[in-house]
Point group: C2
Chain length 370, copies 2
């Protein structure tokens, strides 16, 4: 595959074997990460960032890679996550194709890619992988763990399974369990990939990459990552330049269609379809109620942090803001001092990536008070 | 194809040639319809129903076909649209495959199905076809035209293009123009069909029906027709019976996935993919601003009806309730006595089909006062 792994990527080897929550184990697996800033002598200024499904560990430019990262406006000197004060670690999720071991990696037992022979990946496995990076860097207790989207799930799993690993937590557009609307969307994304004849039970190669399925999965993702409100203002009913008509039957005609097309083009062949399937399913399975005798608030209440912020966008249809409110409520039951913020960002689930004007001060205000 | 045309279907021949708004014309085309109740001597008690994308003309059981229809709870003796008082006509949209002439029909010029040789279908063509049915039945002035979803667009086009055709109007979960979120969803549904190798530029047959594309299109439709709120209560995180595991990799596991699967199974091979593409695109094109010098409210204000009701569900993400509010505002500018109702139905865009407890009284209250 042609997935691009950022040049500044570093790695932590996981214990071998590394047991997986739903069964099976990994041999000689590793987790990719990048860092920003300097760990202080007391090792007390470390922040961990765990990500959504697709990002790599390159959240922002750093000494190893000056290319802007996916959260460039949030992370750096003088930015909301100020790397003059904080030592920041971002990990790439176990199961991904952006450096960490996943279904696209070579199985040391066979010398060929795992593909569907990779064991089930759960959010808990992703969290355990991140915990190993934290320990390997000599950090006993994080000042804060920040999780966005799927990373919001990963952060909660990390806190529930590794008591004391962090003093505080910021949950951004995350949730403590998957609900049926998002399960339905992800199920359909996976089905689009599985129905692509090129997917072939996971046995594709560069020349038979399941491009159609990945295009549909990505476009459906983008539709659910943004909001109708944003698009009304941004695209309205504006048509594409009529000098360049799309001659395909039922081809592109409106700007919003071209926008989706651009997103699809920038995604296909840059992400491994099997990895996508594995991490997508891990979100459906996630339910912190497992840690609370079947009750999600009780599960959240098992988590011990001193302070927490749960924040999201009121226009988010994939991880609706009520889910961040639930996270706040449950963490408060566990004794944390918690703040919930439902922001008026029009950009939906993706707002934390683009509406830094709103999400930046929320994050910075929390960190400044630590 | 194996599309099922209800046995009680009747037909009105359109003038031949029948000119199409975006160019081209149809020869020997017809529009399918069904009726309920009795037209009174003054021909003043007629109601026309125009439908969403997929329904046929069989809205409810009648003398010709005792099978329950798609709006059975709304239409019949003693029901909200009371057929003891009203003579009701429901037309199948021109361009559909449920009796009216469409891309799956035989082109009299060649003796083979039109497929993509069918001219572009606009909402206005669907409306003009419905107008011919009204005239052919000897109705000069409808007591009311009721349009649901796409039918809400069709009804507005009918009123704008055929002044005086109706005294009143009920617009249910409809809109005066397509906005980018719904355009994006429909564009992706069409792309899923077009990317299915079996679609083959529209040249499929029974044995090569593009089932994968239609499955994805239908499931995406269902996801946008309902609401997260409804599904939280209805499905939660309930899993399928573990005695019958789906052995497919990434196969069905949650009840919500099985629900989508049922919808897909009941749709594929019962609707013609080319017809789906044509009618889907007709919605994207629709913009009543064309009748108001580029302003949608001005376009609505050209419509002359005495009374109107615009009603929808506050959980509708496909035709959000603000669009029904816009319809109400514009019709009021045209001089109508208008009521807008945003109902608290949890079922989203489909609420008018299933939440008769809320939509029934809204419709009945309006009709009773006529």
């Amino acid at each position: 595959m042609t997935e691009f792994i950022p040049p500044g990527t570093r790695y932590v080897d996981l214990p071998s074997p590394f047991p997986m929550k739903r069964g099976g184990q990994l041999l000689h697996a590793r987790v990719a990460y990048e860092t920003w800033g300097t760990l202080d002598a007391a090792r007390g200024n470390a922040i961990l960032i765990v990500t959504g499904l697709s990002p790599d560990a390159h959240a922002a430019a750093n000494e190893a890679d000056a290319t802007p990262g996916w959260w460039e406006a949030m992370l750096g000197p003088g930015k909301p996550i100020d790397t003059r004060r904080w030592f920041v670690v971002c990990v790439n999720s176990l199961g991904s194709c952006k450096g960490s071991t996943g279904p696209a990696s070579i199985d040391p037992a066979t010398g060929t890619p795992y593909r569907l022979r990779f064991p089930d990946v759960s959010i808990e496995d992703v969290a355990d992988g991140a915990a190993h990076v934290v320990r390997a860097l000599g950090i006993e207790r994080l000042a804060c763990v920040i999780g966005n989207s799927m990373g919001g799930m990963t952060a909660l799993a990390l806190l529930a399974r590794h008591p004391g690993i962090a003093r505080s937590h910021i949950n951004i557009s995350g949730s403590a369990r998957a609900l049926p609307f998002s399960i339905a969307v992800r199920s359909l994304q996976r089905e689009a990939i599985r129905l692509d004849p090129n997917w072939n039970g996971g046995e594709y190669d560069e020349s038979t990459y399941p491009e159609s399925g990945m295009r549909i999965a990505r476009k459906l993702g983008v539709i659910t990552y943004r909001s109708a409100l944003e698009w009304d203002g941004r695209f309205g009913r504006v048509r594409l330049d009529s000098d360049r008509p799309d001659e395909e039957p039922f081809g592109l005609e409106f700007e919003v269609e071209s926008y989706l097309e651009g997103h699809a083009r920038r995604f296909v062949r840059r992400y491994d379809p099997n990895c996508y399937l594995y991490l997508s399913r891990s979100m459906d399975w996630f339910d912190l109620a497992e840690y609370g005798g079947g009750d999600v608030l009780a599960g959240l209440a098992t988590i011990r942090v001193e302070r927490a912020l749960a924040v999201g966008a009121r226009t988010d249809i994939l991880f609706p803001v009520e889910q961040q409110e639930e996270v706040a409520e449950g963490l408060a039951l566990g004794g944390a001092e918690v703040r919930f913020m439902g922001l008026e960002s029009p950009q939906g689930h993706d707002a934390f990536l683009v509406d830094i004007a709103r999400f930046g001060p929320a994050v910075q205000g929390f960190l400044d008070a630590l």
